[in-house]
Amino acid sequence: MAAGHKPLSDLLDEMALKILMIEPGDLSIVGELLDLIEKLLPGQAAADTPMVIQRMAAAFKGALEKFIMGELADSAENYDFLGQCITEMQESARKEGRPGEKILEQFCENMKKIGFSLQPSALLGANDAASAGMDKAGEAALGEDACAVASPQIDSIQAQAPAAEALPDFLQDTDLLAGFIEEAFEHLESIEVNVLELEQSPDDQDIINNIFRPFHTIKGVSGFLNLKTINRLAHATENLLDDVRNGKRSMDSAVIDIVLTVGDALKSMVENIKDVLQNGPANYKDTDISGFLANITQLQEGGGEAPSVEPVSAPVADSPPEIFEPEEAEPLASEEEAESVAAPSRPTPPTRAAQVAAAPRAELPAGPAARPSADSAQKKIGASIKVDVEKLDALVNAVGELVIMQSLVRQNKLVSRIADAKLTKDFSQLTRITSELQRTAMSMRMVPIKQTFDKMIRLVRDLSKKSGKKVDLIMEGADTEIDRNMVESIYDPLVHMMRNSVDHGISPPAEREKVGKPETGTVFLRAYQKGGSMMIEIEDDGEGLNTQKIRKKAIERGLVSESDNLSDFELNNLIFLPGFSTADKITDVSGRGVGMDVVKKAVEKLRGKVDVQSQPGKGSLFTIRLPLTLAIIDGIIVRVGTERYIIPTIAIQESMRPDRTNYSTVHGRGENLLVRGELVPIIRLYEIFGVESTNTDPCEAIVVVVENEGRRRALMVDELLGKEEVVIKNLGGLDVPGVAGGTILGDGRVGLILDLAGVIANKTD
């Protein structure tokens, strides 16, 4: 019955990752969090989810809804508390739903800090506490003043009031609408990427055109589809950009900010349309765009001048001309927006413009007025089509089979007896074609990591503006290719680590100057291939980790003992342990009460490794090592009796026929081999896999010395058959300890790929 439900711990882990990523003002992640938490609610959760956790989830959901309604302050602090609530839920899950009272009290305490009162007893008993909370969340009509008081850094919730007006008539042609949504997302994505590129080369007319065009398209199509609000916003922005194209004004930071915020707003509006399409018109939300419109008009009227800016220390300035306060916007709002203004409506990033002053390189020189033809600009974007992943997999499978069949035909006894030069030539031609085909098919899964890296530019830009730090992001090797299945999974951990580097690694400019560093900090983001691995490095020139603090903390938590003599490297890497993620913080290391262990888990899921090197005062270097693709593994094929197994090459240290003088036993059982002065336990593969072996004497067989998680073992096999890159396939539902998967070998049969961790654990048991 558990089908379709993710395990509880996975869900909570996912939530922990999400909460790390929340930036004040970024409600989309709160939404994602809401989706996750709903899977834990009473009635929807997996049957084995403890009631306590379901009740906690219900309370949590109530709090989240308050965030969305703008009733609770959208501040980093509050998200920290939410993070701790998740930690407490994780803790409860670990205790199998019987958390001590202390945990529940902490949970309620944290909830209270956010402004969501809750009694511990409610979590244990009747579950109406949660529903009561939700009711409260429903009464959204808090005055704006109250909100302003509640959160000094009201940054940017976009509380969208439900539309009281009759539903817009855009729902008539749902097919067209679905197409538009898809298209619009792509356009918006390209706008963002291009804008960020523009920051690097502000004079580039091509890029300006590339930004202009999608707005134009969105405007056109949305007008056609009767999406009035989107149309008007896109139209206004297009006008502004047109001025830029015609040289009427320069592409300065104010324009860039507008374009970015409008892009965000459009994205959430399109998101909402999608929601309406899927879940019915009741979900329609009207978005207040008057603030944006006012802002754009203001910019246009101001001509080429940059708008006035406010110092960063006062994010919510009293009244910069382009402030997005709803009450100011009201006079401008048309009837369709009037309704929404009644509710606390705070459109997306209002203060971005105000923070421009603090950002490095934000002022951009005016672009030249020349307008190159649209064609030349278009060429830069490589043509591509979207393909269903399943089709791609089917193709890769089919090509793999083709290669195998080809070699089977070739090895056919009758065929191989034909001594015909033409046939031999044709065969080698065929081989060339099939291997080319295979290479291409494989490379279709690979995409440059650029896509993911590009999102980091935006992240660092926003982070540095918000924190008032000056940070340069230098990216190298963005063209490095990575398995497309990994792209999404690597994004979250990467974001967390980048945040970590900017938030905790880099100090504010003043402090940096004090210690004699340039006031602009640098974060390097590198990707490159090394051997069969993809390496991603995140390096900052910040403070580095406080190794002594980590040690103290580790001893407190009982992770290491006072007498343990650990190197700095070992100590620093303790931050990846789960124990470090809970409760109180080490200021310069951890973030939200949930921590680096989530990163580590995410990376390990991809069969990767992560570690950190740090020099106090000089900076830290986080290194992620990932396999190039999840689909292929480099392995040595070994024979044991009649069976063949594949051992991952990465784990193999050496292989040999043991000398009898090096062989020893303990109590006649535990077998060991002396390899280069170190005793290595022998594992007889045929024994643990229960197959017949040719050799039962290790000194007549071959041993392969492997290393896994610091443990070395000598695997006894009959023969080494060769080295091959094999495609990993799952065993169609079988899950076997010691076996990582299967693969199709050259003769068409299935070979099993060893999972060394499993093999070693199996033996140890």
Binding site: A2, A3, G4, N397, A398, G400, E401, E643, I688, F689, G690, V691, K729, N730, L731, G732, G733, L734, D735, V736, P737, G738, V739, G741, G742, T743, I744, G748, R749, V750, G751, L752
Partner: protein, 166 residues
């Protein structure tokens, strides 16, 4: 699941009527619903997988896809029989935990596809222990023979999917 089956059985097989692929194990005739059958292939070399129940013979390469194969004789605790040229693997598709999975079932020989009417189906006999009969949807009398109609989801589900869960 249970409840549905009971209801079906009480309904004297009205729900069960339809086309069945029949095959034999020893002297007994069996049938599986044609809708869950993907294909029938000759027996091929099977790669043994360690640490699995004995009736799971291992895995095969089905055109680039690795699928598990179980031996129905062993599954039903019948004597093992050497595979010959009449031995077949019936590939069926059942709902796995997340996606449909294909599983091969080794049988002595495949007979034919029969159209079995509701009136020909009777509920499974009670043979004392329920574990023997819970794989069985019903008994069909067709062409003067008795065919045991198997619940593929149960047979394979028990064999493979629970293994996955453990």
């Amino acid at each position: 699941m249970e409840a549905v089956n009971v209801a079906q059985n009480l309904g004297q097989g009205a729900e069960l009527a339809g086309k069945y692929l029949t095959f034999s194990l020893g002297n007994e005739g069996y049938g599986v619903g044609i809708l869950s059958v993907r294909e029938i292939i000759g027996v091929m070399e099977i790669t043994a997988v360690p640490h699995t129940p004995s009736y799971i013979r291992g895995v095969i390469n089905l055109r680039g896809k690795v699928i598990p194969v179980l031996d129905l004789r062993l599954k039903f605790s019948m004597n093992h029989k050497e595979y010959d040229e009449r031995t077949c693997i019936i590939v069926v598709e059942v709902q796995g935990q997340t996606a449909p999975v294909q599983v091969g079932m080794v049988v002595d020989s495949v007979s034919e596809v029969l159209n079995i009417a509701a009136g020909e189906i009777e509920p499974p006999p009670s043979l004392g222990s329920s574990s023997e009969t819970e794989n069985i949807l019903g008994m069909a009398k067709a062409k003067g023979e008795v065919k045991i109609l198997l619940d593929v989801d149960k047979v394979v589900g028990e064999g493979i999917l629970q293994q996955l869960a453990s």
